[in-house]
């Protein structure tokens, strides 16, 4: 059971966790990404490539489902204007094996960082700036290539 939502709306991590707990796996891992309010950030704007995003994220989830014995995986990624404290992304996985749940959760968030067609723009009071991709994020995603 896997599901991907690309949406502007907020989501409820509690409802997502409850659904994953209900799959009987024994272990549920999750990661929630939130907009940090650093450097007087007013808002983060997430642009994406609609024709590609859903399919591409589903591919990443299928990759995770094939690498680990998961009973379920859930990914939610928001786009649009998000203010500090707002949730951006949710990854939840469940498995009979805690290591499978934890590793696949880390894999999914690492891959979303470098393989999902989203771009972040920071809005400050007096300027805007596109967030630069970090080499360590690409390296993190690539590090999964050699494993599993």
């Amino acid at each position: 059971m896997s599901r991907v939502s690309i949406q502007a709306e907020d989501f409820d991590p509690a409802a997502e966790l409850a659904a994953l707990e209900g799959l009987g796996g024994g272990g549920v891992a999750s990661f929630t990404g939130i907009v940090r309010g650093e450097g007087r950030l007013v808002a983060l704007e997430l642009e994406h490539y609609p024709a590609m995003t859903q399919v591409q994220v589903e591919r990443i989830v299928e990759e995770a489902m094939s690498r680990w014995p998961l009973l379920g995986a859930r990914v939610i990624h928001r786009y649009g204007r998000l203010e500090p404290g707002a949730r951006i992304v949710f990854v939840g996985t469940t498995s009979r094996h805690r290591t499978a749940a934890l590793e696949s959760c880390a894999f999914l968030i690492d891959w979303l960082k470098s393989e999902a067609p989203f771009w972040k723009k920071e809005h400050f009071a007096d300027r805007t700036a596109w967030v630069e991709a970090r080499a360590e994020d690409a390296a993190k995603a690539q590090s999964w290539r050699g494993e599993g």
Binding site: G33, L46, E47, H48, Y49, A51, M52, V55, Q56, H77, I88, V89, I109, D110, L112, K113, S114, E115, A116, P117, F118, W119, K120, K121, W130, V131, E132, A133, D137, A138
Partner: protein, 86 residues
């Protein structure tokens, strides 16, 4: 001559001032890098946006590809900076 839809995202979109446009494909065996060269040969805004291919990433028909990929039968080429989702 076949047409190709170009799509731009993030600062590439802002630099050229367009979400997308259609161009005539010079030949089916041109690469993404060739097309970036053609775009860089246009006016000031394009010249600046496409001057350095190393800053760009690409997707052909919604799949990530390297800049040396051949356009072939693809209908849509997206050009953008490295992604920053998650």
């Amino acid at each position: 001559m076949r047409q190709l839809t170009l799509m731009y995202f993030a600062w590439v979109r802002e630099a050229v001032g367009l979400d997308e446009e259609r161009i005539d494909l010079p030949a089916p065996d041109v690469t993404v890098r060739d097309l970036i060269g053609l775009l860089a040969a246009r006016d000031g805004a394009y010249a600046e946006a496409f001057a350095d291919p190393a800053r760009l990433r690409a997707a052909l028909d919604q799949r990530f590809v390297t800049l040396d990929s051949v356009i072939g039968e693809a209908k849509e080429l997206a050009l953008f900076p490295p992604v920053t989702g998650g």
